[in-house]
Symmetry: C2
Subunit: 337 residues, 2 copies
């Protein structure tokens, strides 16, 4: 019998399609991967090709070296094909009071995570994961100082099916002058929950998930990692900090380092259990203006791309999930990171 | 310079990524298609295989014949791997007042559009398109009588990249006991617009799009077909009836026939311009209880799957569209249906 579940934070329903559900191990990808070289002379993110990107915004060069030359271990550059650009003027136009448009003002940065072209996030040492997450934090805090921005979205796409065009390991950071409707709706739901219960819905979610335990994958270093009750797609995973902070920018450096280690471990479990699945990873945070607020709680969502959303999902926002979250969690617990 | 545009009906922003935009003709798919046979002995939707589906709900047999035997020209059956089933009891459970779940109660029907395995919607005669749309209408009206349902969603997936598992031409009809959050938010936005302006936002959209004209593809037989101002993906298309009806069930039969013919023609233009793209088609309608309401306006959305949404889209709901709607519309106007 299929089951309808409601996500307690978004109030969106999901169908857990037991009739056509697969066992978690059936999602494993069998394709052999092409060998990817450690260095690709044509890749704009490989060392020596620094001039193929716009001038760098930030980098770490432990052993010295000039900006926009080799020697870096991590490098942040503006996206050459930016979706939004800080060169645009921040304006707002209306046609007949109906169609509203703005210049594409914003910031779109790429974090080139490593000089090595073929490395996987989860197969690197903890120190590397920490370097990446600390770069996220550093850039978040720098962008927060610019009063024209409202929200920063940090995300990472792995694999062609997840929309990556460049193989070289990288993440992206977008700062927008708007808070999208999609985010506003989530903030409103969280506010409503707070009004009704006097508590943060995500703090409550952590408590309930720990109590029920069967969807928990890892609970260590201050972070709860779980397959959410209302998971929309197979192997969807949340990483939620026990400590309540509304925005990503509020986490202290030690917590950022812990997050990095937890992230590396869960990505490693995912990698081993489903054989390097394509995925999108998103840091969900409240806008800058909600810094310190009680009703929202930053967290990370990992969305593997193992199935294809079709007309029903597009038309109703209700996802049909062919994996049972409790089974997914048990499977992920069973593999060693 | 990229441009941010706001959809007047949903208030969601979209990025028109001019920096990386492609010309409309660059989206054409070059792959040669495999030859698909007219009849597939293993296909559950091919004539003679009627016993491979659950017993039929409705069919047309112009030349006679028994239910669940051959002779039909169109046939509606329950989905064998239903996401929702009418056999479930309509219940509602809560765990600790936090996690809410229901049995997967609902109805999930498949419209097998033709006995021919390899036919494309748009390459058939108008009479066939009318037969299909009249079946949608018939089933919608039948499901509306069941007081346990709130909303009917009619959709069609074409092509593997759009989530189809079966090649045989078919559509799906889902009736749900809930109105999903995604739909409620759209109804609320439409209500707000109505409160502010005393007019339906979609009636106004039709008026504005006709005035500006550069996004209009077809305007005939009572329907406006256009690339919306805030299109989220390349070649996204709206089909909007000039006549205001909140729900799909309100359209009279002659209007349903006109809609069928317009649908066939725009799908044909799409087919010729992008070489049979994968797409999802969704009939957007208000729930049954909004029958006759002034603030909503049923319409159809065609969403080709030519690009892949990635982390930014998933995280913010803001799509980065690499096609400019005005250029898409001009291109679609230039091909003959």
């Amino acid at each position: 019998m299929p089951e309808l579940r409601q996500d307690p934070a978004t109030r969106e329903w999901v169908v857990i399609a037991t009739e056509r559900a697969k066992r978690p191990d059936e999602f494993a990808r069998s394709e052999k991967k092409e060998e990817v070289p450690e260095y690709d002379p044509g890749c704009p993110f490989c060392p020596g090709n620094e001039s193929m990107t716009p001038p760098e915004i930030w980098a770490r060069r432990g052993g010295g070296g000039e900006p926009d030359g080799p020697g870096w271990t991590i490098r942040v550059v503006p996206n050459k094909f930016a979706a939004l650009t800080p060169d645009a003027e921040l304006n707002r136009e209306e046609e007949h009071g109906f169609f509203r448009r703005m210049n594409g003002f914003g910031s779109h940065e790429v974090v080139v995570e490593s000089p090595r072209h073929n490395v996987n996030f989860c197969s690197q040492p903890d120190a590397k994961a920490e370097e990446i997450v600390l770069a996220f934090r550093e850039r978040y805090l720098a962008l927060e100082k610019d009063k024209r921005y409202r929200l920063v979205t940090i995300f990472r796409n792995r694999g062609r099916e997840a929309g990556t065009s460049l193989e070289h390991p990288h993440s992206q950071i977008l700062a927008t002058p708007i808070v999208p409707q999609h985010i506003r709706q989530r903030l409103e739901e969280a506010t409503r929950y707070y009004d009704n219960h006097g508590r943060c819905v995500f703090c409550d979610m952590i408590e309930r998930e720990r109590e029920e335990a069967d969807r928990v994958v890892m609970d260590e270093d201050g972070f709860l990692v779980f397959a959410p009750f209302g998971a929309r797609v197979p192997f969807e995973i949340y990483i939620m900090p026990h400590d309540h902070h509304a925005t990503f920018g509020e986490i202290p450096e030690p917590e950022a380092r812990q997050f990095a280690r937890v992230l590396r471990r869960i990505l490693s479990r995912l990698n081993r259990s489903v054989n390097d699945p394509p995925y999108n990873l998103v840091v969900r945070t409240a806008p800058f203006s909600d810094r310190g607020e009680d009703f929202y709680h930053w967290h990370v969502k990992i969305v593997p791309r193992l199935t294809t959303a079709a007309g029903f999902e597009l038309g109703t926002g209700v996802y049909i999930n062919v994996a049972v979250p409790e089974e997914t969690a048990a499977f992920l617990r069973s593999v060693r990171p």
